[in-house]
Every structure is written in structure tokens, then in C-alpha cells.
């Protein structure tokens, strides 16, 4: 009960921050969707990181490590530690500069202006929106799982997911980008503060991690969890393509345009790898070491199922189970609130979708001119309600684990969209037809992925590799063969 009260208190604080941000708003579209491009340095670092680290990082990583061991860290964390800051350094700064100079708010606005296209931008919008929805669903699933475990089952998954969805929807609805950035900053500080405490408490409860590691190594069934002997080097290599998705995620690209000054990226790219270490290392350790937590009934049941079926099990809740079992109730509540903080990062995705819809569809097709800027913000808010409701009802029936859902659809799809950003921002010869070819390729591959079995590979590589390389080749080949945008447009973008 105490634990649940802490989590509820956290939700109330998040809601209050959103409403406080609402009071600071000026009712204009750029103010609501981009916080008036006024986000300061530390809020930018912490919020950008909080925006990127979601239920996937906390619950998905520990669940994956429970099934596959320490390989999880190398698959997603250390590769992200190098590639995400590089993307921010090379592409994020360019997005910021182009957004500021030409007044763009969304990536599609940049593509339309850069390639002199209209409806092709709409096609890109639809693909981005379709790929982002699984990520929002992950947030709702994470919220439902967290509340269900923390409350000892008193709050069922459907009610927890609903509560989280309503709270997130409310502060995004009222606070817009300013509220979302402040809540994300608060969330990141909270989780970074309590993550280490969680590890120490659970380690102590399990008799020390050194003993746990030795016991895991002594058992031939669990010893492979502490190495990568069961994972192919080629598959491991192909996972380094997944972090390429970071900058292609619309919520990250849009967030890059909120910075007050470009120099704010300096702190971000330097501290980003360290933040990843602080979040992922405890989660992966706890996930792998949970294979020795046989005194936790829910985990023992998962281990039995794993041993019987010889297949991975849905284990997104292992870290929460460890916490609920080993930490005192008040501390479990505080730590649970910290986990909830990271899990609720779906706020920025919801806001990004709303921003994209109102800018790339509503405003582009003339509704802003007809109905005014206030109507645009109101439409954005209505869209937030619709998206959240859709994500909630889909999450109730989701069968896949958080990790699989993220990797299979969102990461692969957005990684394959990265060539669009590179071509638009760095290649004078790129054309709208090349962009369309790459977008259609990514769309077809994503639909095909929906019908492939879990863990599907092509010549030992994850689908993300051929998808990304295919998109890059298509944009290159088709651009060579098709007419370029006017010289005036090219000069505007490449006059730096």
C-alpha cells in the first residue's frame, strides 16, 4: 500500500508540472509544440535523454537480460553510447540549425522545403506516425505492468495502464513541449538517483552479486547468460544499426529543434553515454542475476516455464518483482516511482505525433489559414486524446514483450529512415523521388516484418541491416536518375 502511495504521489507531481507549464504558455503553435525554442542547457540534456529512455530501457532491457543474459548491454546500450551521440553531433545540430533558420518545427516540413514536395511529405508523415505508435504502446504497457506489480496485483494491468495513459495525456495536453520537457527532466533525475540504490538493495537481499554470479557460472544451464557464447557475432554486429533510429524518431528530431542555442548539444553528446551506463548497467545486471532469484515466487514460475519450454518468456516485470521482494515497502515505492518515471517517456512520442499531425497535415492543407493558430493547438490536443486512447486499447491486447515490440518495428523502421535525414541535410543531389522510394521500401519492409516470426534474420543479420542499406541505396540510385530541386533551394540549405 505504501509503495502504491509513492507511485501515486509521483503521478500527481508529474501532472502538476504539466499544469504549471500550461500557465507559462502563450497559446501560439511554436510555443506549445517547441516551447518557443527556449529550452535551457541542463533541461535539454536530461530531457532529451529521458525522452529517448523509455520502458524499453528499464523493463524491456531487464526482461531481455533475464532471457539472454549480459549480451543485452552490448546489443543496445554500448552501441547506443557511441552511435546516438554521433547522430546528435552530426545530424541533431544540423536539424537545429535548419529548423531555426527556416522556422521548421517537424522533419517533414524540412523534407518538403528541401525537396520541394507536398504529398510525398504526407507519405513520410504517415510512415513516421505508424512506426511511432508501437513505441507509445510500450509506454502504456510499462505503466500497467509497473503499477500492477508495485501494488501487489491490487491495481490490475488494465487500470494501471489507463491511469498512466490519462496522466501522460493530461500533462502533454496542458503543458505541450514545455511541460513534457520539465516532466522528462524530473523523471530522469529521479531514476538516475534511485537506480544505484535499487541495485545495492537487491544485491544485498540476494546475498551479494559476487555469490549470485558464481552460482550462475556453476550451473551449465545458466552460465551462458554471463557470456555471449549463444549469440552470433553477426547478429551482434547487426544490432549496432538499431541506434541509428534515434535521430530519425520524430520526437527526438523535434526535440533537437527546441534548444535555445546549438552549443547545448555539447553537454548532451558528452554526457549521453554516461547516462546510458547509469541506466542500462543496473537493469541488465538485475535481469541476468534474477535467474538466481528462485525465492521470488513470480520469478521462480518464469524460470520453471523457461526450463520447460526451452524458450524465452515474457519477463518485463522481473526488476519490479525483485524490488517488491527485496526492498522495504517504502523504498520499493520510491524506486517504483523512479521506474515509473522512465516508463512514462511515451509523453514526448504522443506530443510529437500531435505536432506532426497539426503541422504536416492540418496546417499544410490550409486549415491553419482558415481556422487560425488557436484552432491548430486545439486540434493538436484533440489528436493527443485520440492517439492515447488508441495506444491504450492496443496495449491491452499486445502479446509481444516490450523489447521485441520496440526492436522489431520502431527501431528497424526508423533506422531505415535515417538515409532520408542524411540525404536531405548533407547531399545536394538528393531528390523527392529518391525520398519517396526509400519511404515506400521502408513501409513494405515494415509490413513484411509484421508477418515474420520472432528473431527472424536474413543471412544471419537482423532485418534492420538490409532495411537500412536498401533505403540508402534506393535514395541514392533514384535521386541520380530524377530531376533535382531548384538551385535556389539547394543554395539556401548549403550556404553554410
Amino acid at each position: 500500500m505504501t509503495a502504491t502511495i509513492f507511485v501515486f504521489a509521483y503521478l500527481a507531481i508529474a501532472l502538476y508540472i504539466g499544469i504549471f507549464a500550461f500557465r507559462r504558455s502563450r497559446g501560439q503553435a511554436e510555443d506549445y509544440f517547441l516551447a518557443g525554442r527556449s529550452i535551457g542547457p541542463w533541461v535539454f540534456v536530461l530531457s532529451l535523454f529521458g525522452t529517448h529512455m523509455t520502458a524499453f530501457a528499464i523493463l524491456g532491457s531487464s526482461g531481455h537480460a533475464f532471457n539472454f543474459g549480459i549480451v543485452t548491454f552490448g546489443l543496445m546500450a554500448s552501441s547506443s553510447a557511441l552511435i546516438v551521440p554521433l547522430c546528435l553531433f552530426f545530424l541533431g545540430t544540423r536539424l537545429w540549425a535548419v529548423g531555426k533558420k527556416f522556422g521548421h518545427i517537424t522533419p517533414v516540413q524540412i523534407f518538403r522545403d528541401r525537396w520541394e514536395c507536398g504529398h510525398i511529405g504526407t507519405v513520410i508523415f504517415f510512415l513516421q506516425a505508424a512506426l511511432l505508435v508501437p513505441y507509445i504502446i510500450i509506454g502504456v504497457m510499462g505503466g500497467g505492468t509497473t503499477l500492477a506489480v508495485i501494488s501487489g496485483g491490487a491495481i490490475p494491468f488494465w487500470a494501471g495502464g489507463l491511469l498512466v495513459a490519462v496522466v501522460v495525456m493530461s500533462y502533454v495536453f496542458f503543458g505541450g513541449m514545455r511541460g513534457t520537457a520539465w516532466v522528462n527532466t524530473f523523471q530522469t533525475v529521479l531514476f538516475l538517483s534511485f537506480g544505484l540504490v535499487a541495485v545495492l538493495i537487491i544485491s544485498n537481499g540476494m546475498g551479494g552479486f559476487a555469490n549470485v554470479a558464481e552460482r550462475l557460472l556453476a550451473d551449465p544451464r545458466t552460465s551462458p547468460l554471463l557470456s555471449r557464447e549463444k549469440f552470433s557475432p553477426l547478429a551482434f554486429l547487426s544490432y549496432t544499426f538499431n541506434p541509428l533510429s534515434a535521430i530519425a524518431f520524430p520526437h527526438i528530431a523535434i526535440f533537437c529543434m527546441t534548444a535555445k542555442h546549438m552549443r547545448q548539444f555539447k553537454k548532451t553528446v558528452i554526457f549521453y553515454p554516461l547516462c546510458i551506463l547509469l541506466i542500462w548497467l543496473p537493469c541488465v545486471c538485475l535481469g541476468a542475476f534474477a535467474n538466481q532469484a528462485t525465492e521470488v515466487p513470480a520469478i521462480a514460475a518464469k524460470l520453471a516455464e523457461k526450463a520447460t519450454t526451452m524458450r524465452p518468456v515474457v519477463a518485463d516485470d522481473v526488476m519490479l518483482r525483485l524490488l517488491a521482494h527485496y526492498a522495504p515497502e517504502w523504498l520499493a515505492g520510491l524506486l517504483g516511482a523512479g521506474i515509473m518515471a522512465a516508463v512514462m517517456a511515451s509523453d514526448s512520442q504522443i506530443l510529437a505525433l500531435s505536432t506532426m499531425f497539426t503541422e504536416d497535415v492540418f496546417a499544410f492543407y490550409g486549415a491553419r489559414e482558415k481556422f487560425g493558430e488557436k484552432a491548430q493547438v486545439a486540434t493538436g490536443r484533440l489528436f493527443i486524446v485520440i492517439v492515447t486512447a488508441f495506444a491504450y486499447f492496443t496495449a491491452l491486447n499486445a502479446k509481444a514483450s516490450i523489447f521485441d515490440l520496440a526492436v522489431q518495428f520502431s527501431f528497424a523502421g526508423f533506422s531505415a529512415m535515417l538515409p532520408l535525414y542524411i540525404a536531405a541535410l548533407f547531399w545536394k543531389g538528393s531528390t523527392k523521388w529518391g525520398a519517396l522510394a526509400a519511404t515506400l521500401w521502408t513501409s513494405c519492409c515494415t509490413i513484411a516484418l509484421f508477418f515474420t516470426p520472432r528473431g527472424f534474420t536474413i543471412a544471419g543479420l537482423s532485418p534492420v541491416v538490409p532495411m537500412t542499406i536498401g533505403a540508402a541505396l534506393l535514395i541514392w540510385l533514384v535521386s541520380i536518375a530524377t530531376p533535382k530541386p531548384s538551385q535556389q533551394t539547394v543554395d539556401r540549405y548549403f550556404s553554410v
Binding site: I70, G74, F89, A97, K101, F102, I270, Y272, L281, C285
Partner: protein, 68 residues
Amino acid sequence: MIFVLLVYYGLHQDFWNWTSARPLVFGFLPAGLAYHAAYTIGASALMALLVRRAWPAKLEAWADEEAD
């Protein structure tokens, strides 16, 4: 810098830690996990170097010029 970045990317594929968990660093961190934890710290240092040596200062000035 590009060469350094490519080498560092290659170091992510630490085949020498593939099959063995030992030595356990600090008594509990398997060698492969400790290596990748150190790799993330190294990535931070590399980013600091990149910011120092290759910061696109002209881009900010370009963006701050009168908007088109």
C-alpha cells in the same frame, strides 16, 4: 577523427570476450559486460574530443543570421 571513430566502432565487436565470463571484474561483473561498460565511458571521452576538435561553430552562426 573519422578514422578514430571507425576504429572505436570496430572495438565494439570484442570477439575475445565472447565465450568466457571470467575474470569477474569487482567479483561480479562478467568480463564482456565490464568491457562494454568501459566502452560507454570511452565513448563519452571520445565525444568530448569530438566536441573539442570538430565542433561546427559556423553552423550556429549561419542559423543565427537573419531568418529566411
